[in-house]
């Protein structure tokens, strides 16, 4: 199935991945999206733009990120060898900066002076505030007031970087509501403002553009595993909220039919409890935030509240390309509960000396289940999308520890 499709041809000119994706926004934003689409089409192959992006990724972000062979963990799990793609070692501590560096260069070329962003866990907000500081642009970050509470270190980081953080009190007060509010800001200030979306969702061209910027993860991983092991990996594992770290790792391997690919959603308290954030596992297709994709919704098409211990996965939708990859069967999407993610978090801390983000801990937990089903000469690349410093207060509170 996967080997008959030319994945580089998606999305189509109107932003569709099969029935998913597209351009579902109010008329006021259409001109801005057309401008962005045209600008991105012009610069994505422009040697000068690419050179500037590569320079920033190398010298500011610190790329390439290492592919680290977690030998002790692999031995303990007793199966495939675990290779960690260390996006946690990027400047700002997560993969998010790969995208904000790219979008900021576009914003500069479009002559915009103001940058806005939505954020859940705060990683994308920090990465946006970082790049705005560097370019001397005004930066406003929308964040659900629930997330402001559970991610206070990142809120402070954004403020240190000069950004204005606006707590959003509407709806469920999480990432989806932050996105609504950012869209409202953009509609109002569309002339001078560039909206830096943090994941592979939203109206075309965002899912494609963010994917392209994040594909540096998969391109590097591919070269690194070939250099270190002389062959491609047997499996890839990454967590999926909106899905930008996952698509970044997966996309350069989609045409390699022998590479099994696993996306991991947040099962929260469990898929059967209804308290989770797993639209691909337990949702159905609908339209939200500019694209058609799998959603968590009720029988009347209202978006329902989601739950995950990880703020970065606490979102009722998912990038449209993931919806398509699920339907065509190229990627298998599983789910990991809060408790399983926490256990994996501790395991990685103690066996490898790496404190992973709670988001990434979902991928680690899934790899733990997958590894024993493979031989010890097989390879699993796990995307360690972010570091866990931001989560220590959440974890301490859950475990009854006062810091």
């Amino acid at each position: 199935m996967g080997d008959l499709i030319d994945f580089s041809q998606f999305p189509d000119a109107n932003g569709h991945f099969g029935p998913y994706g597209g351009l579902f926004v109010a008329e006021t934003l259409m001109a801005a999206l057309e401008d962005l689409r045209d600008a991105y089409a012009r610069y994505r192959d422009d040697p000068e733009f690419i050179a500037e992006l590569d320079r920033d990724l190398a010298r500011y972000v610190g790329r390439p990120s290492p592919l680290y062979h977690a030998e002790r963990l692999s031995r303990e799990w007793g199966g495939a060898q675990i290779l960690l793609k260390r996006e946690d070692l990027n400047h700002t501590g997560a993969h998010k900066v790969n995208n904000t560096v790219g979008q900021a260069l576009l914003a500069k070329r479009l002559g915009k002076t103001r940058i806005i962003a939505e954020t859940g866990a705060g990683q994308h907000g920090v990465a946006t505030a970082t790049i705005a500081a560097r370019l001397g642009m005004e930066c406003v970050v929308y964040m659900g007031s629930e997330d402001v509470k559970r991610q206070s270190p990142n809120v402070y980081r954004m403020k240190l970087l000069g950004a204005t953080v606006v707590p959003v009190e509407s709806g469920s007060k999480t990432l989806k509501d932050a996105l609504n509010e950012a869209l409202r800001d953009w509609v109002t200030n569309v002339d001078d403002t560039f909206y830096v979306i943090g994941t592979v969702a939203g109206p075309h061209p965002y899912p494609m553009m963010v994917r392209d910027f994040q594909c540096v993860i998969g391109r590097e991983a591919r070269q690194q595993v070939l250099a270190d092991f002389g062959r491609l990996p047997d499996a890839l594992v990454a967590c999926v909220g909106g899905g930008s770290n996952a698509i970044g790792l997966f996309h350069p391997f989609l045409a390699d039919a022998d590479v099994a690919i696993y996306g991991v959603e947040a099962a929260g308290d469990g898929l059967d409890t209804g308290r989770h954030s797993a639209p691909l596992n337990a949702g159905r297709p609908g339209v939200l935030h500019g694209n058609r994709t799998y959603l968590m919704e009720d029988a009347n098409g209202q978006i329902i509240e989601t739950h995950s211990i990880s703020a970065g996965l606490d979102y009722p939708g998912v990038g449209p390309e993931h919806s398509w990859l699920k339907d065509i069967g190229r990627v298998h999407y599983g789910a990991i509960t809060d408790d399983e993610a926490l256990a994996a978090f501790h395991e990685l801390c103690r066996s490898e000396g790496i404190i992973p983000a709670l988001e990434s801990s979902h991928a680690v937990a899934y790899a733990k289940k997958l590894a024993p089903t493979l031989r010890s000469d097989q390879l699993i690349v796990v995307n360690l999308s972010g570091r866990g410093d931001k989560d220590i207060f959440t974890i301490a509170a859950r475990e009854g520890i006062t810091l």
Binding site: A26, E27, V287
Partner: protein
């Protein structure tokens, strides 16, 4: 000819402009909305835009966001809204009703099932805020097949090429969003709106209504001088929010504001 086209033709023949109030269905409950629909008609509404509540109203300001939250808190669904229109139709066979909302509830019901049910209930037009013509082909087919008018938005940012494209898909009327922003935003610049609407009318054949930021009779009259219709939403919805506990006052104030707009539009145009 559809009920909307008939209404606009009659208004044009009389040299008048349409007054189009918006309220959110189910805010704070369906009985209140049903009573309000008749108050709107009694005070000069020519067409009614009835909001279908959605959990994530991205193009709406705080007033209509809260209206959606109140409506959803009492469980208002798209089915309930259609049943409401059906009850309204039993008493009012003339006033066109346009459903205004977001795509997902329609998507879940299914385009054909929705178009069928809406037509049967007596709905006349459907304005789907987050559905530009690029994505609306399939829903448009279903709507037109069932005699419903697809209504579209135009914005200050719409370029000529887009205005023509949107107009090609639209029936009934076009809704020009008078400012860059969400519903209920700050007061609009009537001179700028006049300039834009005059330009749009050179490009399209359907009537052009103007909304967003119209909250008093003076602005309504100014807009009526250049547009074919005046849409008022947040100014009414904020009165529902403040006065729902005292229904008599709510009906009096909402009816009063609408009647005042109606008078100002008629006088303002006559003396212009």
């Amino acid at each position: 000819m559809s009920r909307i086209a008939t209404r606009f033709a009659a208004l044009a023949a009389a040299g008048r402009q349409a007054l189009i109030p918006y309220i959110t269905a189910g805010d704070p409950d369906l009985a209140t909305t049903e009573a309000l629909l008749h108050t709107l008609v009694a005070n000069g509404a020519d067409v009614i835009e009835l909001g279908v509540p959605f959990s994530d109203p991205m193009a709406d300001g705080p007033v209509i966001q809260r209206a959606c939250e109140r409506a959803l808190a009492t469980g208002t669904s798209l089915h309930d809204v259609l049943a409401l229109v059906q009850r309204f139709r039993r008493q009012d066979a003339q006033t066109p009703v346009v459903l205004m909302g977001y795509l997902n509830p329609v998507e879940v019901m299914g385009y054909t099932a929705f178009a069928q049910a809406a037509a049967a209930a007596g709905v006349d037009g459907v304005l789907t805020v987050d559905l530009p013509p690029e994505e609306s082909h399939e829903l448009n087919l279903a709507l037109v097949e069932h005699g419903l008018d697809p209504i579209y938005l135009l914005a200050p940012t719409s370029r000529d090429e887009r205005i023509r494209k949107v107009a090609a898909a639209a029936r009934g009327y076009l809704y020009y969003v008078s400012l860059k922003g969400v519903t209920g935003s700050a007061a609009l610049d009537t001179a700028e709106v006049a300039r834009r609407v005059e330009h749009i009318k050179t490009l399209v054949d359907v009537p052009v209504g103007v909304g967003f930021g119209i909250r008093d009779a003076v602005t309504a009259a100014a807009v009526a001088r250049v547009a074919d219709a005046v849409v008022v939403g947040s100014a009414l919805v904020s009165r529902v929010e403040q006065l729902a506990a005292t229904p008599e006052r709510m009906h009096a104030e909402i009816g009063g504001l609408l009647a005042e707009m109606r008078r100002a539009m008629d006088v303002g145009v006559a003396t212009a």
